[in-house]
Symmetry: C2
Subunit: 223 residues, 2 copies
């Protein structure tokens, strides 16, 4: 969301700095409103008001209401891809062992889900009945799984798991699945008989993945 997706064809490219700012305000307004409501519940009027603009201005920037959501989705995916490329790049982890990689990946992923909980929830809800969105999300998941897979396969000697490729893919899914369900349910850890804090989730998730992979880690239970 930090960069507008000005190159997208369904967004009418602004010619003046003023309207570029307006376009960003629309995108930010959408992100803000999506944290609370589903896309269907948000009206173009809501978006315009939240952006401090007008309905007419909206339609000079976007072909239709859907175009804004697509551009927000696009930005989210682009940012997410760039970030995961950076975090999971092979160079960054040269000389590091699997426990170190898993520890940071889990920590980082928890943080991302925390910060983007509202948006993730809204985009996912929309993807539930939108083939395009769903396919893009799947592709994104596959990409991240592949990055992690490469890191782990390069260290396959550390594993007890008999099928390193499957193990790597499944590890990514374990992490994503747990945090995804947590984000979607809006479980902030305050309600319920058993509360798991972010810190506990982190500890347990790291342990679970390492135990699953069959990595011998010193002090698996700490930090």
């Amino acid at each position: 969301m930090t960069q507008p997706a000005t190159s997208l064809s369904w967004v009418k490219t602004p010619k003046q700095a003023r309207s570029r700012a307006t376009l960003q305000r629309f995108q930010q307004a959408a992100v803000d409103l999506l944290a609370e409501s589903s896309w269907d519940q948000i009206s173009v009027d809501d978006i315009a008001r939240s952006a401090g603009s007008s309905v007419g201005a909206f339609y000079t920037r976007f072909a239709d209401k859907d175009a804004l959501l697509r551009s927000v989705h696009e930005s989210f995916l682009e940012e997410s891809e760039a970030t995961s490329n950076a975090v999971l790049s092979p160079e960054r982890w040269e000389g590091c062992s699997i426990p170190e990689i898993i520890r940071e990946t889990v920590t980082f992923t928890i943080q991302v889900y925390r910060e983007r909980e509202g948006l993730i929830r809204a985009l996912t809800a929309h993807a539930a009945t939108n083939e395009d969105f769903r396919e893009r999300g799947l592709a994104q998941g596959r990409h991240i799984g592949e990055l992690l897979r490469k890191l782990i396969l390069a260290r396959r000697k550390e594993l007890l798991h008999p099928a390193p490729a499957v193990a790597a893919e499944f590890s990514a899914r374990l992490i994503h699945g747990l945090l995804f369900a947590r984000a979607l349910s809006g479980d902030t850890g305050e309600s319920g008989s058993i509360k798991l804090t972010d810190q506990q989730i982190r500890t347990e998730l790291i342990h679970a993945v390492l135990a699953y992979l069959g990595v011998f880690s010193t002090q698996d239970w700490d930090s």
Copy 2:
């Protein structure tokens, strides 16, 4: 969905067998349509037509459109609770070890998610912006977590994990999270570079949970 929730106050109790059948047809129509579309995208007219009935008949049975969704949700939760109570009852597992319990729980849960994928997706999407639905879903998750926790705590000597209560709760979340994400993304295992079949998911998930719990299992990798 097999039983209508006739006791619910927002559903107008039918006085004749004919209308009870109509009510069930409306509920079934909703379930069918929800497998493909979100609730907002389904019109009362769609529901009436799919049920082979009329809009007017709908409103003699339900207070409003939302009432039908609530009754479908209610039925789903009731059925889900009854089933998990039966599957995870302490009596059923007397004399059994944790690996046996986990193996069947995972197998069973995979099957449930498979059968109810469409409905789970739709109800979850709706819950994303509906506090009531979300809270009911959370309560459901907590309940199932508790059932599993009791089974595991009664066998805590089998565990290496230092905190059995946390371990039990987290195990439930691992299982749910992975299958939930899989159901929501609509990933049927046919697309993507790495495909995981139901069978593989089952094997890996059982192994992951047992490894996490720290249970010594003979032939963890088979069956």
